[in-house]
Symmetry: C2
Subunit: 525 residues, 2 copies
């Protein structure tokens, strides 16, 4: 096991030397894990951000090849501590070893995907409009532009993805690929995992000869350390994955700064699944099995978890409900990530159970232990759902609410009522889909991703992915936190007019020394 | 002269039938112009936005070819009232006929540029990642994505560009190209010009058979009508060009909505010009003449007006200062856009004149009349500038402040102190530029566009242009309001997973029926 120091990483130094106050807790046993981590002081936080600001000039001017080497080195370094991660992360999160191995693979794959994007280089959207000194009535100047990094980025780790959305997750990978230094705030739910990955990143900074401020990892309470980070004048953007309350509080801080900054929060989504009647009749069993798998995957602790299923109540529903209820009732209990999430799931399911308009269809088993949770299936009517906003709020965990409607108009009314979502799913035969074109129009305006005859969990890391969506799914529906488009969250276009060739960035020089795709006088070249 | 009705345009109907309260004023004479315009009622505003929301589904699904035809028809219709515009706009704005003809040309050119972008179609950034059902451990789904319109956009007209940044200006052109209906709030400084253009747009909506909510034009006071527009739940984004105070007030409203929306404000910029000593000595006369021309163009009422000139005080400055002072003193007075802008320019120049740390080097002539302004040249030291934040705030009009520094460190300190700007300019010989690489690094982080050996005014409408910049130059430094990238302000990527080909948008169908450039399995095709 790599040595855990219990300290923050501030450039090439360590910090947080006060009294340890943050301890990982094994959710299965409730036992506290060593070492403890002290919260960083305000001075230490300032130092990390100032180092990042200093590093910004140098790191922002590294070539795509240099950034690619850095990202690949991070992936190699993480893989080198893979055995430590599968030992420590399950202790802190209750997630099984296999999941941690898969998530490590996904995280390293994501780092290498961004390495290839940085290395290939065309992502900068280089544009060249040549001068025309003879133009009348006024000559045309030479104008060139490309995407450039915003500067130091704050990244907040997520509890539910200790690797893929944490220290070296998608936000960090895309910020590094864009040329932005990163200051990470560790999640208190998996401090040891964070340190293992933080050491891997920090070693890569040294290995690649980059300035020390390129990366820091800070421990501390969200309200103090997180807020101070978002408010720091040298932080130029932030990425967050977590609760709606936490995300909205930080959104507000980001907007109220003397210089407001882009704040990318992925917050809240119930991921409606519309099951159209033809398919419901045709594939009852596969549908129930698939939805049950998606619902209970990772103890329902995915932001794309299907929390709402919308079905035609006039169809013959019972075979499907019986099937799904049986699967839910037979689901073994499992360990949730931490007591906070477990308690929230408990109160949420209790409230649904007490709601007179909601029927408890099936409850899975919950094992013995402090953070055990069982799956749950509830049912209500479209009218009850339309009249009770609480039924449309996210309940994080393996629970879903089946809403039955009576007529297409009611289904469309439901769709129109929904808040912004990461995903919506439609299950239908060809005839179902043809008959429900309007449903696609409505949901396209509400979500980042529409899934047909599939399941919302399992977010593919690929160029076309959009893991985003209108508020409150995220703070900024124009962005995605997964897929190669994520790099654009941390850049802005800068225009160079009348520059002599030799002081232009390589991407914009006349000879195109990097061989990237560019738009020259409006034409691709 | 086309008939001016004095009424708002609400879809295919007219509105604002109350008592006329908004009158154009001839700034040269102070006389009030007919007709008067009534402010829209809350009900009328709601109706315009609701029509836009209804139109959104249909207009958002029009093809690029249909949007191109619409944009070109708008341009044709505007050109058809060109003679009316050069009669009415100068009366309302004090701008000369030649300027209005040029701005009409620019506006129509901009509409046609966005028409060609929409028609060509590749701007949607279509991406396709094919399925791989055989992949282990889990199959890969078919994932496709492209940019889609956000929905109804509110556009605020600018006083200083009655055509190019008003009813059918860049915000409207880019929103239409993206597929978003537009609700424009007219500027009270040129209500007749706004109506002439509004009629041209409205006729194009009918000519092209588009839904009536595609376009509305509302009259009303900024505080009420403008605020209500930004707060309306069906408005999904807004574009604004105007003052910092106005922009920041609306930014706040946009961020505080239950569903926050993107708000693009172009607000405030002093556009520093760094004049390096080699060039100052070599091209004294051309430099003074060029800067004077840029400074006084359009009575200094451009957002890229050079309000700050930074020069090496240890160089032999006097020939340049004498030259520039002579040109400023000899500048004829000219009419500003309206009494508000004229009064602000008067108090701003008065304050500079009274500032003990500032020398009044030259004042141009101010003619007789209510809105006459003369050019002004002031001078101060770097230390005084660094110690008095008021000297760094925008003074809208033909005034500039020459700041002398003593040593490169002081120049860099000045550059680092600057707030976000639309532009910065560097004048230098090859040796000057080589010796000041660090200056480029500093200013690149502060501005949207860097100009070398040119002048900041004259924003080219072309694919590579960036007319944006970090706060407070704009509310969102990631965007541009000029150039083809502006279309992306009003879109977000939507992802389609597992779709049968026949329900995909044409841009994403396997056969690529539109022949657009796409990223297929990570490779351009």
């Amino acid at each position: 096991m790599a040595h855990l120091t219990g300290e923050s990483i501030i450039g090439f130094e360590s910090g947080g030397e006060g009294e340890p106050s943050i301890f990982g807790v094994n959710p299965t046993t409730g036992e506290s894990l060593q070492p403890g981590y002290a919260a960083v002081s305000g001075t230490e936080l300032d130092r990390a951000v100032e180092l990042a600001a200093e590093a910004s000039g140098v790191f922002g001017k590294t070539s795509g090849a240099e950034r690619a080497a850095f990202l690949r080195r991070i992936a190699d370094n993480i893989e080198a501590v893979g055995d430590d991660l599968v030992k420590r992360a399950p202790e802190e999160t209750g997630l099984p070893e296999g999941r941690i191995r898969m998530e490590t693979g996904r995280t390293c794959g994501q780092l290498r995907l961004f390495a290839s994007v940085a290395e290939e280089g065309s992502w900068v959207d280089a544009r060249i409009d040549h001068a025309d000194p003879a133009r009348e009535p006024v000559p045309k100047a030479d104008v060139r532009s490309m995407e450039r990094p915003l500067g130091p980025v704050a990244v907040f780790c997520a509890s539910n993805f200790p690797l893929a959305f944490s220290v070296a997750g998608g936000d960090t990978a895309s910020a590094f690929a864009a040329g932005c230094p990163v200051v990470v705030k560790a999640h208190q739910s998996h401090p040891g995992t964070a340190e293992l990955v933080g050491q891997a990143v920090s070693a890569a900074v040294r290995d690649c000869g980059l300035p020390e401020g390129t990366f820091s990892l800070l421990y501390g309470p969200g309200r103090e350390t997180g807020s101070a980070l978002v408010r720091h004048p040298a932080i130029k953007a932030a990425g967050f994955t977590g609760s709606r309350a936490g995300g909205q509080a930080l959104m507000k801080l980001a907007a109220e700064r003397p210089e407001p900054i882009p704040f990318y929060a992925e917050m809240s989504s119930i991921n409606p699944v519309f099951i159209l009647p033809g398919l419901l009749a045709e594939r009852t069993e596969q549908l129930a099995a698939g939805l049950h798998g998606s619902l209970t995957l990772g103890v329902g602790q995915f932001c794309t978890n299907p929390g709402l299923m919308i079905v035609d109540g006039t169809a013959d529903l019972e075979p499907f409900v019986v099937q799904l209820a049986g699967l839910v009732a037979g689901s073994p209990g499992a360990t949730m990530l931490n007591p906070g999430i477990h308690d929230a799931y408990g109160s949420g399911t209790d409230a649904l159970g007490r709601n007179a308009a909601v029927e408890t269809v099936a409850l899975g088993q919950a094992g013995e232990g402090p953070c055990q949770a069982g799956a749950a299936l509830y049912r209500t009517s479209a009218d009850a759902f339309l009249n009770d906003a609480s039924l449309g709020t996210e309940l994080f965990g393996p629970s879903t609410l089946l809403v039955t409607y009576d007529g297409t108009d009611k289904m469309l009314a439901l769709a129109r009522l929904l808040e912004g979502q990461l995903t919506a799913t439609v299950h239908g035969t060809e005839a179902d889909l043809e008959a429900n074109r309007e449903l696609f129009d409505v949901i396209e305006g509400k979500v980042g991703r529409v899934v047909v005859n599939g399941f919302p969990t399992g977010v593919e890391v690929c160029p076309a992915m959009v893991h985003g969506g209108p508020f409150p799914a995220t703070s900024d529906g124009r962005s995605t936190s997964v897929g190669t488009r994520a790099i654009h969250r941390f850049t802005r276009a800068v225009c160079y007019q009348g520059y002599p060739d030799y002081i232009l960035p390589a991407e914009l020089r006349e000879a195109n020394p990097l061989g990237i795709r560019r738009l020259v006088d409006g034409e691709p070249s």
